[in-house]
């Protein structure tokens, strides 16, 4: 059985954590500066007054004049989501996060640990925490699990067996399917309002009218999707923080601060020599908002100059002066060493062996002789560049056996 954990309006709940009083008031996430003036997630009280997520700000305020606009705080939401994922992982669930507020796990491995599917799902709900009002849905297929979680009550675990999945999905609204808003409207104009109605249409007609996304939604509606869970590798908890005495917007100062954080981070013993593969820069901005950027390195490295170059460019995107700067390791490579090029072996290349001179070359020759003796002729080859300018990678060089 696959399970989906859903926390509706997660971004708003995370932003309201320091102000729990607002959770029962009409409140909505404010639009980001410079973006479309549309409200984000809304509280139940706001929804009761007719405010809907994605509504134009002016319309929302006209509908509900007492609406409180809450500033978006993506970094806090991401941090809170990471804490939830870690609690689930600590409880033995291999989670596949999709977005903050939605993740999947395969319950098969943990059912026996907790004495059945239902106790395992209850354990997952407890791991998330009741304050978040999570819902869990379980089914043989991902979409059915997601749909079950979406219709479950807060704190409820809803299990849908495979034989009744289609009848369970049939009366549910189309909005649960991953389709663009225009597609829903198009379907509604055609009189198709439920998943069951869509599933009853001929597949070719749906594909012709709605394209590949519509065809996929049709397959989901018919319960034809299998889907596997790909649990993430638990993230590494290594981070360093720097608090500034006053807000800093100067690029040079920020870069220096980043350099200090980088040196501290690279010196952390938990790294155990492994180079970082993924890093994140986080900042608390003047006015309380937060900012976060993730960088995935082309090649994991511990070279401070390369790391500074990769991360420094992100600082230019800071929208406001920062009060606090944090550097986090998202993921470490699994290896500790790096195979460097053996330059200068044949006497006319670089100086990779110059430190050892002739003695080093003699050792290498002896090593190559032993390799040949062990694996036979053709065991040692030389790379010969034949067309290094070629746009076709395999045409650039040949591997030529070396018998001397």
């Amino acid at each position: 059985m696959l399970a989906a954990v859903v926390i509706p309006a997660f971004d708003l709940r995370a932003a309201l954590r320091p102000r729990p009083r607002l959770q029962s008031a009409p409140a909505a996430l404010a639009p980001l500066p410079g973006k479309d003036q549309l409200v984000g997630s809304v509280t139940g009280a706001a929804e009761a007054k007719g405010v809907r997520p994605g509504m134009r700000l002016g319309e929302a305020l006209a509908m509900c004049p007492e609406l409180v606009l809450v500033e978006q705080d993506p970094a806090t939401a991401e941090q809170a989501w990471e804490e939830i994922l870690r609690r689930l992982e600590d409880a033995g669930f291999g989670v596949e996060p999709v977005e903050p507020g939605l993740c999947y796990f395969d319950a098969k491995g943990v059912e026996r640990l907790y004495g059945g599917l239902e106790p395992a799902l209850k354990r997952a709900l407890a791991a998330v925490g009741t304050a978040w009002e999570p819902r869990v849905g379980a089914a043989e297929r991902r979409f059915a699990a997601l749909a079950a979680a979406n219709v479950a009550r807060p704190g409820q675990a809803l299990i849908v067996s495979d034989d009744r999945a289609r009848s369970f999905l049939a009366p549910l609204p189309l909005q649960l399917l991953p389709l663009e808003r225009e597609r829903y409207e198009e379907l509604e104009e055609l009189g198709v309002r439920t998943i069951g109605q869509l599933a009853g249409l001929p597949g070719n007609a749906v594909a012709e009218r709605l394209g590949p996304a519509g065809r996929r939604a049709w397959s989901l509606a018919r319960g034809e999707e299998h889907g596997r869970i790909a649990p993430r590798k638990p993230a590494t908890a290594i981070h360093e923080t720097l608090e500034f005495p006053e807000a800093v917007g100067n690029e040079l100062t920020l870069r220096r601060g980043l350099g200090v954080l980088l040196d501290r981070l690279l010196a952390r013993p938990e790294r155990a020599g492994r180079p970082p593969r993924k890093l994140a820069v986080w900042a608390r901005l003047v006015g309380g908002a937060s900012w976060r950027r993730t960088v995935t390195l082309r090649e994991p490295t511990t070279d401070p100059a390369r790391l500074r170059a990769a991360l420094g460019a992100k600082l230019l995107e800071l929208p406001a002066p920062a009060l606090k700067l944090r550097l986090e390791v998202g993921e470490l490579a699994e290896y500790t060493g790096e195979q460097l090029e053996l330059n200068g072996v044949d006497g006319h290349g670089g100086d990779g062996f110059s430190a050892e001179g002739e003695a080093g070359r003699a050792r290498l020759r002896e090593g190559l002789r032993q390799v040949r003796a062990a694996v036979g002729a053709g065991g040692v080859s030389t790379v010969v560049e034949v067309a290094p300018w070629s746009r076709i990678p395999e045409a650039r060089a040949l591997l030529v056996p070396r018998d001397d």
């Binding site: 394209g211 590798k233 995935t296 746009r391 990678p393 395999e394 060089a397 030529v400």
Partner: protein, 96 residues
């Protein structure tokens, strides 16, 4: 009888470096890879085309993708456009 020279022997046994290897790729409708060798694609970092040797019997017409998988692994795959989108042998991995 004339013995092979060393260079002739070497040339006979030489092989290409960095040959493409077949890959199992599931793609989106627009051709972007979604899963590579059963791993989800996290980011498509770069995309480029190589069109070459069109004047020969073996033209090269490839669409390369520089990608990072969900596991953090960095890899390059390409689609051989001459064999059609859904052909099982049309995707390859290669260090570019």
């Amino acid at each position: 009888m004339v013995a092979h020279t060393r260079s002739a022997r070497a040339a006979r046994a030489a092989r290409r470096l960095n040959q493409p290897r077949p890959a199992l790729v599931e793609a989106h409708a627009d051709g972007l890879p979604r899963r590579v060798n059963r791993q989800e694609v996290a980011v498509v970092r770069e995309e480029w085309r190589v069109v070459d040797r069109w004047w020969t019997d073996e033209p090269v017409h490839r669409r390369y993708f520089d990608i990072v998988l969900e596991t953090g692994e960095h890899t390059v795959v390409y689609h051989d456009d001459d064999t059609g989108w859904n052909g099982s042998g049309s995707w390859f991995t290669q260090r570019a």
